[in-house]
C-alpha cells in the first residue's frame, strides 16, 4: 500500500505516493524524477547516492524516504540552475575531476558538505571527507585538486 507524502527537494515540494519501505534514493529518482544521484553499490559503500538531508550527508540508498518528510533534501541538481554550473562543478571540469561521471554527483555533495563544515580544508581533510565516495576512473587526484581550488576561490 502506498502512502501520500511530500518530499522537499532543492527547495521545491513534490507530492508523491510511496511504498513505506522505499529508499530516499529510489523515491527521488523514480517518483520525484531527479536522476542526478546514482545507485552504485546499493550498500552504502560507494557514495554515488549521496544527498544532503537537513545539511548532513546521507547515503540515500540506505535511508527510508518517509523519514525524510518535512526535511530539506538537497541533490546535485540543487547546486546550480538548470544548464549552469556552480563554482565547485566548474572546478571539477577544470581540474579533470570528471571522467565517466557516475560518481560525480556523490563526490560533489560530499565536497559541498565538507566545505560547509570546513571552508578551508587541507589536502588530507579533503581526501578523508571523500573517502566514503569511490571513483574508478580519475585516480582521485583531479577531484581533490578541484575541491581545494573551489575552497581557495571562495576565499577559504
Amino acid at each position: 500500500m502506498r502512502v501520500a507524502a511530500t518530499l522537499r527537494v532543492n527547495g521545491t515540494d513534490y507530492p508523491v505516493e510511496l511504498d513505506p519501505h522505499i529508499s530516499l534514493l529510489r523515491a527521488v529518482r523514480e517518483h520525484v524524477g531527479l536522476i542526478g544521484a546514482k545507485e552504485g553499490c546499493d550498500d552504502s559503500e560507494c557514495g554515488a547516492c549521496m544527498m544532503l538531508l537537513d545539511g548532513q550527508p546521507v547515503n540515500s540508498c540506505s535511508y527510508l524516504a518517509l523519514q525524510a518528510e518535512g526535511r530539506e533534501i538537497m541533490t546535485v541538481e540543487g547546486l546550480a540552475p538548470p544548464g549552469e554550473l556552480g563554482p565547485l562543478q566548474q572546478a571539477f571540469l577544470e581540474h579533470g575531476g570528471v571522467q565517466c561521471g557516475f560518481c560525480t554527483p556523490g563526490m560533489l555533495i560530499s565536497a559541498i558538505a565538507l566545505l560547509a563544515r570546513n571552508p578551508s580544508p587541507s589536502d588530507d581533510e579533503v581526501r578523508l571527507a571523500l573517502s566514503g565516495n569511490l571513483c574508478r576512473c580519475t585516480g582521485y587526484e583531479g577531484i581533490v585538486q578541484a575541491v581545494l581550488a573551489a575552497a581557495a576561490a571562495d576565499g577559504g
Partner: protein
C-alpha cells in the same frame, strides 16, 4: 501483511508500536543496508523514531553522562566531554562508517544491532555503561555487558526500546583508547579491535579494563589481561603480557575480512597498540582522536 512505517512523535507512541510488533528504525545505516545485503529482510512494520527529540540529547548529572539513543556518532566524536574523559568512545565514534554514516547512525542503533564488530561496544563495556530499556510496561536498566548476548542478539525483548545510555564519568587522571585493524579508512568495520581504559595511581596501574572486538561472539572484557595489567607499572613488559593474554582469550571466526589465524595474530598487535595509547594518554600525552591510524607505531 501490509508494509507500514509509523513516524512516532512521542515515546509512548513508539513503544506502543513496538508492543504491536513493529521494529525500530532510526538512522537506517544498519537496518536498511542489512536488507539488501540479504542478512535480514526489512521488517514489515517499522516505527521511525528520528523525530523524538528527547532521545537526541546528552546531559551530565551525578557524575554520569547520559546519552540519548538517537545521539549520532558525529555528535559523540565531537563532544568535548567524550573526547577528554571517555576518549576511547570518541576514538570509536570517529571511525564508524563514513561522514554520512556518522551523521545519521546512532549510538542506540549501534548497540541494539549487537554486531561483534561494532565500534562503540568495547569502550562502552570498559566504561561500565548501562542502558535504559523502555516498553509500554515501564523501564529497566541493564549493564551493556548483560545487553550483548550473541552475534546480532541482545537481552532486550522485542517490545523494548533503547532509550538512553548512561556512562559513569571516570576519575580524572585516566586514559583510554580504542584501536582497530582496518583495510580502508571509511566504510570499514573492525577486522580486529581492542579497547583499553587505564588509570594510574602514582607509578602503578590502579585500574585496567580491556575489551576485544570482532574476536568473540560478542564484544567482551578480558579479565585475564586486566589481571596482568592491574598493579603493574604499565610499562612495555606489562603491556606485552596483557596483549598476549588478550590474544590467548580470543575466539575469532574466519570470514571474508580475515581468517581466524590472522585475527588471532593481529589481536596481540592491536591490543598492544590500544593499551600503549591508553597508557600514554593516562600519562598526559596528547594522542589525537581517532587513535586508529593517527599514532606512530
Amino acid at each position: 501483511m501490509t508494509r507500514s512505517l509509523t513516524v512516532a512523535s512521542t515515546l509512548e507512541e513508539a513503544v506502543s508500536a513496538l508492543s504491536g510488533g513493529a521494529r525500530v528504525v532510526a538512522g537506517g545505516t544498519d537496518l536498511v543496508v542489512g536488507q539488501r545485503q540479504g542478512k535480514a529482510p526489512l521488517p514489515e512494520r517499522l516505527v521511525a523514531i528520528h523525530r523524538l527529540e528527547q532521545l537526541a540529547r546528552m546531559s551530565k548529572d551525578a557524575g554520569c553522562l547520559r546519552i540519548g539513543a538517537l545521539v549520532t556518532h558525529a555528535t559523540l566524536a565531537a563532544d568535548p566531554v567524550v573526547r577528554s574523559r571517555l576518549t576511547a568512545l570518541a576514538d570509536a565514534c570517529a571511525i564508524v562508517g563514513s561522514h554520512a554514516t556518522r551523521a545519521f547512525g546512532t549510538i542506540g542503533g549501534n548497540l541494539m544491532n549487537a554486531s561483534p564488530a561494532m565500534e562503540t561496544g568495547g569502550p562502552l563495556l570498559c566504561f561500565d555503561a548501562t542502558v535504559t530499556l523502555r516498553s509500554a510496561g515501564g523501564a529497566r536498566s541493564l549493564p551493556v555487558a548483560e545487553l550483548l548476548v550473541g552475534p546480532g542478539r541482545t537481552a532486550a525483548s522485542p517490545d523494548e526500546l533503547l532509550e538512553e545510555v548512561c556512562l559513569p564519568l571516570p576519575q580524572e587522571g585516566g586514559g583510554s583508547a580504542y584501536v582497530r585493524l582496518e583495510y580502508r579508512r571509511q566504510m570499514e568495520i573492525a577486522v580486529v579491535g581492542a579497547s583499553a581504559v587505564l588509570r594510574f595511581d602514582g607509578d602503578a596501574l590502579a585500574d585496567a579494563r580491556v575489551a576485544i572486538t570482532a574476536l568473540a561472539p560478542t564484544i567482551r572484557r578480558v579479565p585475564e589481561a586486566e589481571a596482568e595489567l592491574a598493579g603493574s607499572d604499565g610499562g612495555p613488559d606489562a603491556i606485552a603480557a596483557g596483549a598476549r593474554a588478550i590474544a590467548a582469550a580470543a575466539a575469532p571466526i574466519s570470514d571474508v575480512r580475515g581468517s581466524a589465524d590472522y585475527r588471532r595474530a593481529m589481536a596481540e598487535v592491536i591490543s598492544r597498540r590500544a593499551i600503549e595509547t591508553a597508557a600514554a594518554r593516562a600519562r598526559g600525552a596528547d594522542v589525537p582522536v581517532p587513535a586508529s591510524g593517527s599514532a606512530a607505531w
